[in-house]
């Protein structure tokens, strides 16, 4: 899902108000909920506002609905952005929602998409004449008539490059079009001459258990032709790998580890290596000079070191907050400021200059 934003300011309308019939609708929706719960009507109101503005939600509509339902603006914006069926940018007069999910893709939605890209342009952009814009969406639930698109409120199914081009031509020219399958089908009945449901065998009981009979017949046939025996022999002689790595890189064993050596029957550590490891001259850290402390890199200390008023670092040597109820004079190691600053020295005889 691409990052979406509210439409730019220059195409945002300056104001929004519900039309009289939508106003009645809004009142009906709000009346459905108990007082104080009017925010529940936010989705129907947003939907009506989107229809009224021609398929998208301007900022002013969001704010008007927020005022109407006594909600903060951000709460309405949250709903408007959560649902992808609310468009935040202007759409064409015919807003095409193109299904790109697997069943449609298998039945040729790729061709349809190419036509959209050629004739309408980039996704989520209104064509120059303002007639079309399109958006690839997830499954719209008409897989038996794939591929399909939804244009405004109607489904157009059983598309093929030819009939889809014609459909777009008709829509562009303002000619009436027929929603539903474009291939001549009435709905989702079989596309060819197969009339499965008119077969009298369906109704005389002869198909009961027919599936089992078919398996039995196939099994007998396999035995008669020797195919079954043949397959068994081949499988024993040339077994398939149980878990093929399917081309993925699989872990290889470490080159030389104690575990590997144990697995191969060797001692985990050889005597020679033990000797090497014990050799102090080969140690990477000099452990012979114990007690030598590395010199600090700076005189700054971040630990609980004695106070250094000289460097301006006041480090309390006792908890600075007294235990509740202790008179401060009784608190241990009281720090009151008098210890580190000299008293104000005053010469009373001296006059100000």
């Amino acid at each position: 899902m691409a990052v979406r934003r509210l439409a730019p300011d220059d195409i945002q309308p300056k104001s929004f108000a519900f039309s009289p019939e939508n106003e009645i609708f809004a009142q009906e929706q709000i009346a459905k909920y108990p007082p104080g719960r009017q925010a529940s009507a936010v989705i129907p109101l947003l939907w009506r506002a989107q229809e009224q503005t021609g398929g998208w939600l301007p900022r002013k509509a969001i704010e008007a609905i927020a005022v109407r339902l006594d909600m903060p603006d951000i709460r309405v914006l949250e709903v408007a952005t959560f649902y992808t069926m609310f468009n935040l940018d202007p759409v064409g007069k015919h807003f095409i929602q193109f299904c790109g999910t697997t069943p449609c893709a298998l039945r040729g939605a790729g061709e349809i998409k190419k036509i959209l890209e050629r004739r309408v342009g980039e996704q989520s952009h209104v064509s120059a004449d303002g007639n079309f814009s399109w958006l690839e969406v997830e499954c719209l639930g008409a897989c038996c008539n794939a591929p399909m698109v939804q244009i405004n409120h109607d489904y157009y199914e059983d598309l093929a490059p030819e009939n889809f081009e014609k459909l777009l031509d008709d829509l562009a020219a303002g000619r009436p079009v027929k929603p539903g399958p474009q291939s001549g089908r009435r709905s989702s009945e079989p596309a060819d001459a197969v009339k499965t449901l008119t077969d009298p065998a369906l109704y005389d009981g002869s198909v009961v258990g027919a599936w089992r009979k078919r398996f039995e017949e196939e099994a007998i046939k396999a035995v008669e032709t020797g195919e079954a025996a043949n397959a068994t022999a081949t499988a024993a002689a040339n077994p398939k790998p149980a878990k093929p790595d399917a081309g993925r890189a699989i872990g290889t064993e470490s080159a030389d580890t104690p575990a590997k050596r144990v697995k191969e029957g060797d001692a985990p550590v050889s005597a020679a290596e033990r000797k090497d490891a014990a050799d102090q001259t080969r140690a990477s850290v000099d452990q012979t000079s114990k007690g030598a402390v590395p010199t600090p890199q700076s005189d700054k200390s971040y630990g609980a070191t004695p106070s250094k008023p000289g460097s301006g670092q006041a480090t309390p040597d006792a908890p600075t907050t007294p235990v509740a109820g202790t008179p401060p004079s009784d608190a241990p190691a009281r720090r009151d400021g008098s210890e580190s600053k000299p008293d104000v020295v005053v010469d009373p005889t001296k006059k100000p200059s």
Partner: protein, 692 residues
């Protein structure tokens, strides 16, 4: 209680506990990203998966109740495993998915070192990626001057959305689009309109939301940490001040269930740059109309010269909103030694006084007590800007089960609905006299809460209004042995401490207003920047920032801010808390008590303490309750309120207006902060937009 076995340990927990809580009760740690104790359960990060015996798949423990578990075949308690290999594998799988789209930018990420994802990846992550597709890219969002976004890092836990919606009460953040394309944003990238928004960045378990003013300034492991309290309002939120060297780098909330839970306001957090800008770092003396740099002895000598030639009735002292109890005690001691009775810490002109009893000026119900109130009347207050965390508590109470809430004062957005009763004292009188049905609501409540804010008590007839509110509290039975619903909401951190000390004018002495209007010849101003001082008087300003007070001053003594001294503050509940020093004051600036001690020597009345400990010993001898840190001394309760109620007086007809006009600019530290200035300008624009 329900029994459950966690990793072989049987624990007895309330049945409404989730598996995550039960596991924690049994001592098992469960990793999580989306779950947060103070927010609703989302269950969308899946990091908290555990194995429930008998369940076919791992379940999200944050969203599965103990009572939803099935017992074993023979009625044994249900059993969960949090350390089994299935659980480990499941969490590793979740972690791998989370890391698929998470950028590898820890070295340049401000969350590095304090990142939940980083920490948990150490436990459950793998060192390589099996993902060879492109990572998701998400545009960064503008969310205002306080929160920086880096949305590629977002793992969609929705904690920020839940925080702003549920706790802060502004529905600004939301998630648009869906699935992998989900993005957290505000509506068209509008700046967030909450005074608590920075907490959302704290909640972010990754580096998607970080604090913009602190961006690239520090690494968390470089900072030394000091526990302290906030003084931006009178709530006294628990904070942790993190400093590096001499400089405070950031302020974080600390968990304190009684006060701020784990939130702080943006003002408490982001005034950090105000602590170093516009600072007074040297004494100044006004010579021929111009302030000139001076030495301490010169400044003190100039003061001594003026004080010696002035009658004690013509000397006065006003203390500001950020003064600690120690500073006030030192100043009061000095003034007493000089024989001066003109002292006042109430620069807003309120007339509260310890003479009416401690209960007359405390938030007696306590902030945590708001959650128990079953009817709330707010009088002359906008708690959202005067004490945001009190407002959060009221909202929390409202979310539990809405109690009746009513407001007298300005009609403002408090983030929860309330009944608006009226604008001023007249309405309060109506309610008290029973001419309003809300009186019956209050009477019917077991624990009615009456919050009186500065809009009510700081006006010309403030004391009469306070008395009227106390009458109302007594009438509705808000004061009993176990509940005191009469609650005064302060806005100044120093106020309750000053009232406890008795930092108010003595018999027949001048109030702050009178002193400022020119009734004294020498005025000692301890950080009072919210008051206009008339020309004429010789003003000694002891403070921290070059603000209004310093501009009017004749002598400036540079003091220390609350992060630079150890000081006691008493919050609006009367809770005594201590702020600790995290850094040193700049230049020649000194801790305030030490300045006063040195000045007293020059004035010939040497104060009897040479160290802060000695000062505190004397303070605790005179006022023992200041020694009980983090607790509230029991107040005089009903007796005090009856005395206040008996005062009477004419409350007048004025409308209550909040003295806090701009939340972000209430004190000199905040006014020096560029971040606060930016927030203030933005908030003003938001208000103008809302007014259109």
């Amino acid at each position: 209680m329900a029994k459950i076995i966690v990793d072989g340990v049987e624990v007895d927990v309330p049945p409404e506990f989730t598996l995550l809580q039960a596991a924690e009760a049994a001592g098992a740690e469960i990793p999580r990203f989306c779950f947060h104790e103070r927010l609703s359960i989302a269950g969308n990060c899946r990091m908290c998966l555990v194995e429930v015996k008998g369940a076919p798949k791992p379940v999200a423990s944050c969203a599965w109740g103990v009572r939803d578990c099935r017992p074993g075949p023979n009625g044994e308690p249900p059993e969960i495993l949090t350390k089994s290999s299935t659980v480990k594998k499941a969490r590793e799988g979740v972690m791998e998915f989370l890391l698929i789209n998470h950028p590898l930018d820890c070295p340049i990420c401000d969350q590095g070192g304090q990142c939940d994802l980083q920490d948990q990846a150490m436990a459950y992550g793998v060192d390589t990626s099996r993902y060879h597709e492109n990572k998701r890219a998400v545009p960064d969002k503008y969310l205002g001057p306080l929160i920086k976004t880096s949305m590629n890092r977002c793992i969609h836990c929705t904690r920020c959305i839940r925080f702003t919606t549920e706790v802060a009460g502004v529905e600004d953040l939301g998630a648009i689009w869906r699935g992998e394309d989900m993005e957290i944003t505000s509506y068209l990238e509008k700046a967030l309109g909450s005074e608590l928004q920075s907490n959302a960045a704290d909640l972010c378990p990754v580096g998607a939301l970080t604090h913009k003013p602190e961006a690239f300034h520090y690494r968390p492991w470089e900072l030394s940490k000091t526990d302290s309290v906030d003084v931006m309002d009178a709530v006294g939120s628990s904070i942790r001040v993190d400093s590096r060297g001499r400089e405070v780098m950031r302020i974080l909330p600390r968990v304190n269930e009684a006060v701020n839970e784990e939130w702080i306001t943006d003002k408490a957090r982001h005034i950090v740059d105000g602590l170093r800008l516009q600072r007074l770092d040297r004494p100044f003396v006004r010579v021929d109309g111009r302030l000139q740099v001076a030495t301490w002895p010169q400044a003190f000598a100039a003061i001594a010269e003026r004080v010696k030639g002035t009658h004690r009735n013509k000397i006065g002292a006003i203390a500001g909103d950020l003064a600690s109890v120690e500073d006030l005690f030192a100043l009061k001691s000095l003034m007493t030694a000089l024989g001066v009775a003109n002292i006042d810490a109430r620069q807003d002109g309120s007339q509260m006084s310890p003479a009416h009893g401690r209960a007359s000026y405390l938030f007696n119900a306590t902030i945590a007590g708001i959650e128990e109130a079953d009817a709330i009347l707010i009088v002359g207050s906008n708690p959202r800007i005067e004490a945001s965390l009190v407002n959060v508590r009221i909202r929390k109470r409202w979310r539990m089960a809405p109690p009746p809430i009513a407001l007298i004062g300005e009609r403002v957005d408090l983030t929860y609905p309330y009944a608006y009763l009226g604008a001023g004292a007249e309405t309060l009188a109506d309610v008290a006299a029973g001419r309003h049905s809300f009186l019956d609501t209050l009477k019917g409540a077991k624990r009615p809460l009456i919050i009186v804010g500065p809009g009510a008590y700081a006006g010309a007839n403030g004391l009469a209004v306070l008395s009227l509110a106390a009458q109302l509290a007594v009438t509705v039975g808000a004061v009993s042995d176990e509940w005191n619903g009469f609650s005064v909401l302060h806005t100044a951190a120093s106020r309750v401490g000053a009232l406890d000390l008795g930092f108010v004018p003595g018999e027949g002495a001048l109030s702050a207003r009178e002193m400022a209007d020119g009734a004294v010849e020498v005025l000692f101003n301890l950080g009072a920047d919210e008051v206009d001082i008339a020309p004429g008087a010789f003003v000694i300003y002891q403070g921290t920032h070059g603000d209004r007070g310093a501009h009017r001053a004749d002598v400036i003594l540079p003091g220390a801010t609350y992060t630079e001294k150890s000081g006691t503050y008493v919050n609006t509940e009367g809770r005594v808390q201590m702020a600790n020093r995290a850094a040193f004051a700049p230049g020649d600036a000194r801790e305030d008590w030490a300045i006063l001690r040195a000045l007293s020597d020059v004035l010939g009345h040497r104060l009897p303490f040479d160290s802060l400990a000695a000062l505190r010993q004397r303070l605790y001898a005179e006022h023992p309750h200041f020694a009980a840190i983090d607790s509230i001394a029991p107040s005089d309760g009903a007796a005090g309120l009856n005395a206040l109620a008996a005062l009477g007086g004419s409350p007048g007809r004025e409308a209550f207006t909040s003295p806090v006009k701009d939340f972000y600019l209430t004190n000199p530290i905040a006014r020096s902060s560029q971040v606060m200035a930016e927030c203030s300008a933005l908030a003003r624009n938001l208000r103008l937009e809302a007014a259109e």
